[in-house]
């Protein structure tokens, strides 16, 4: 088998997590430069998927490979700190005691970059994300959209091959959501790595993703290109999901 397999590219994962009365079983293949959305209701296993990919949770079985790196397989487990997945958490989880600039520089510090160089590089990313004016501001004073951009900059400054977004729109109010979503879509289009987006809102999937995986109770209900899934839902559950969201 291994002799025949060609060099893998992007994210290749089979995620199996078993808990009492719950089993998540999900295969994901996300080529570089594409976005896969994992859509499902609360308790469907979305967050577990994300935590497993980020290395914050050990899987029961399965594997996670990224390019030619093996991150999880059998006894092998690369810790969250060393696997280098960029994560934009739900609520963004910016460090409240650090300025926007220091938040973005945090990962560079953690990777041993000297203070000045890290701040310089973080500042470049803030500029790129139109956040230059907010460098010295604490997260508490940022708007939802700004906080999301800082969180994205903080994750992307390390130039990860894998970007994970956990409900990136959930913390935003409805009035800014459309605009912020469009901005995020543009940023994801220009990103060269594999992106996995977890959301309960199919609108996010339609706007941001190439492929969609619909998850329910830990199992895949339907998968495919976003528009194909929206157009031809396999059952009422998926139809309801996209029917209500695809406005």
């Amino acid at each position: 088998m291994s002799a025949l397999s060609t060099r893998a590219s992007g994210l290749d994962a089979v995620i199996v997590v078993e808990r009492p009365a719950f089993r998540l079983d999900l295969a994901l293949a996300v080529p570089p430069g594409t976005v896969t959305a994992v859509v499902g209701p609360n308790g469907s296993g979305k967050s577990t998927t994300l935590r497993a990919l980020a290395g914050l949770l050990r899987m029961t079985s399965g594997h996670i490979r990224l390019g030619d790196r093996v991150l999880d397989e059998g006894d092998l487990h690369v810790t969250a700190a060393s696997r280098g997945a960029g994560v934009v958490f739900q609520d963004y989880l910016l460090f409240p005691h650090l300025s926007a600039l220091e938040n973005v520089a945090f990962g560079l510090h953690a990777h041993g970059m000297p203070h000045k160089a890290a701040l310089g590089q973080a500042r470049e990313w803030l500029d790129r994300f139109a956040l230059a004016d907010f460098a010295g501001i604490r997260p508490g004073q940022l708007s939802g959209g700004q906080a999301q951009r800082v969180a994205l900059a903080r994750a992307m400054v390390l130039e990860p091959e894998l970007l994970l977004l956990d409900e990136p729109m959930a913390a935003l109010d409805a009035s800014t959501r459309v605009e912020v979503r469009a901005e995020l879509a543009a940023k994801l289009r220009s990103y060269g790595g594999s992106t996995v987006l977890v959301t309960h809102d199919p609108t996010d999937a339609l706007a941001l993703a190439d492929e969609v995986v619909v998850l329910d109770h830990g199992s895949v209900v339907q998968r495919g290109p976003v528009r194909a899934v929206a157009r031809a839902p396999v059952n009422d559950y998926v139809a309801g999901l996209f029917g209500s969201g695809a406005a």
């Binding site: 980020a54 290395g55 969250a80 700190a81 005691h97 990777h111 390390l158």
Partner: protein, 274 residues
């Protein structure tokens, strides 16, 4: 006529019969302080501080209080950390650990002093070896004062920091981890700054408790002027020989306590300790 102000219709709801004991209770707490302030020889305040050993005991008290606070910070913050993160342990172990930490809080300080003597005294459990191997004899020295104060004050710091750690959002540590931070870096750059207000509050409480320490100190460290005679001990002794000096020392201690209360006002007076 009903009142024109939009008052809560329930009013205060305090039964009339409670007013008398409530007022007596308040008077019971406040009148002694008024009596003390009334007796302070304000005119000779300066000269008493300079001439008697008030200044000496004040200096020693501050030195030992700060020392004890540092000891409590260095040992207590990690201990609070372990306590706060012991959620996965067996409940018996977890509760037992917390009970052990709380014991000095409820135990008579004199008992603490005797216990320290039996541990660190010349014939004590550890003191025997300290004496035999290093010729270290701790009882009745200034370090003994710091040890006594730390023993009594540490629970204040541990419980304050533990509360702050429990309230801190652990998902921020996940975020730091995905950015490549080591555990030590997460502790130093994320968690510690997040709980800094709790650490400060704990340190202030700890210092206040250390400053007022009497029982454990006089038992384990004794009463040597300039070496172990801290302010509370000096005040107690001066009451027999030089009452005005005792009043002055008491006033100083009272002012420090009120200062602590002031520093803690947001946490305690407004009832936001949880």
């Amino acid at each position: 006529m009903p009142k024109t102000k939009p008052v809560d219709r329930r009013g205060s709801g305090i039964p009339g019969i409670l007013w008398l004991p409530a007022g007596l209770g308040l008077a019971f707490l406040v009148l002694p302080l008024i009596a003390l302030i009334g007796q302070v020889p304000w005119a000779q305040l300066g000269s008493i501080v300079v001439t008697s050993d008030v200044a000496q005991s004040l200096g020693l008290s501050l030195e030992c209080g700060i020392g004890a606070t540092i000891v409590c910070l260095v040992l207590g913050v990690p201990l609070a950390w372990v306590l706060a993160r012991s959620g996965g342990w067996h409940p018996v172990l977890r509760r037992g650990l917390r009970a052990l930490v709380t014991v000095p809080l409820v135990m008579p300080p004199v008992v603490g002093g005797i216990a320290l003597l039996l541990l660190l005294g010349r014939r004590g459990l550890i003191g025997t070896y300290l004496d035999a191997w290093f010729h270290i004899d701790l009882p009745f020295t200034t370090p003994a004062v710091i040890i006594s104060e730390s023993f009594v004050a540490m629970p204040f710091l541990v419980l304050a920091v533990e509360g702050a750690l429990r309230a801190a959002d652990r998902r921020l540590e996940d975020a730091a981890e995905t950015l490549g931070a080591s555990r030590w870096m997460i502790f130093r750059r994320v968690t510690l700054p997040l709980v800094a207000p709790g650490v400060t509050a704990g340190a202030v409480l700890c210092f206040a408790r250390a400053l007022g320490e009497f029982g454990a100190t006089i038992t384990f460290a004794g009463n040597f002027p300039g070496v172990t005679r801290t302010m509370p001990i000096a005040a107690y002794l001066a009451l027999e020989t030089d009452p005005p000096a005792a009043y002055v020392i008491s006033l100083v201690l009272l002012v420090v306590s009120i200062g602590v209360l002031f520093a803690m006002r947001d946490r305690w007076v407004s009832g936001l300790t949880s």
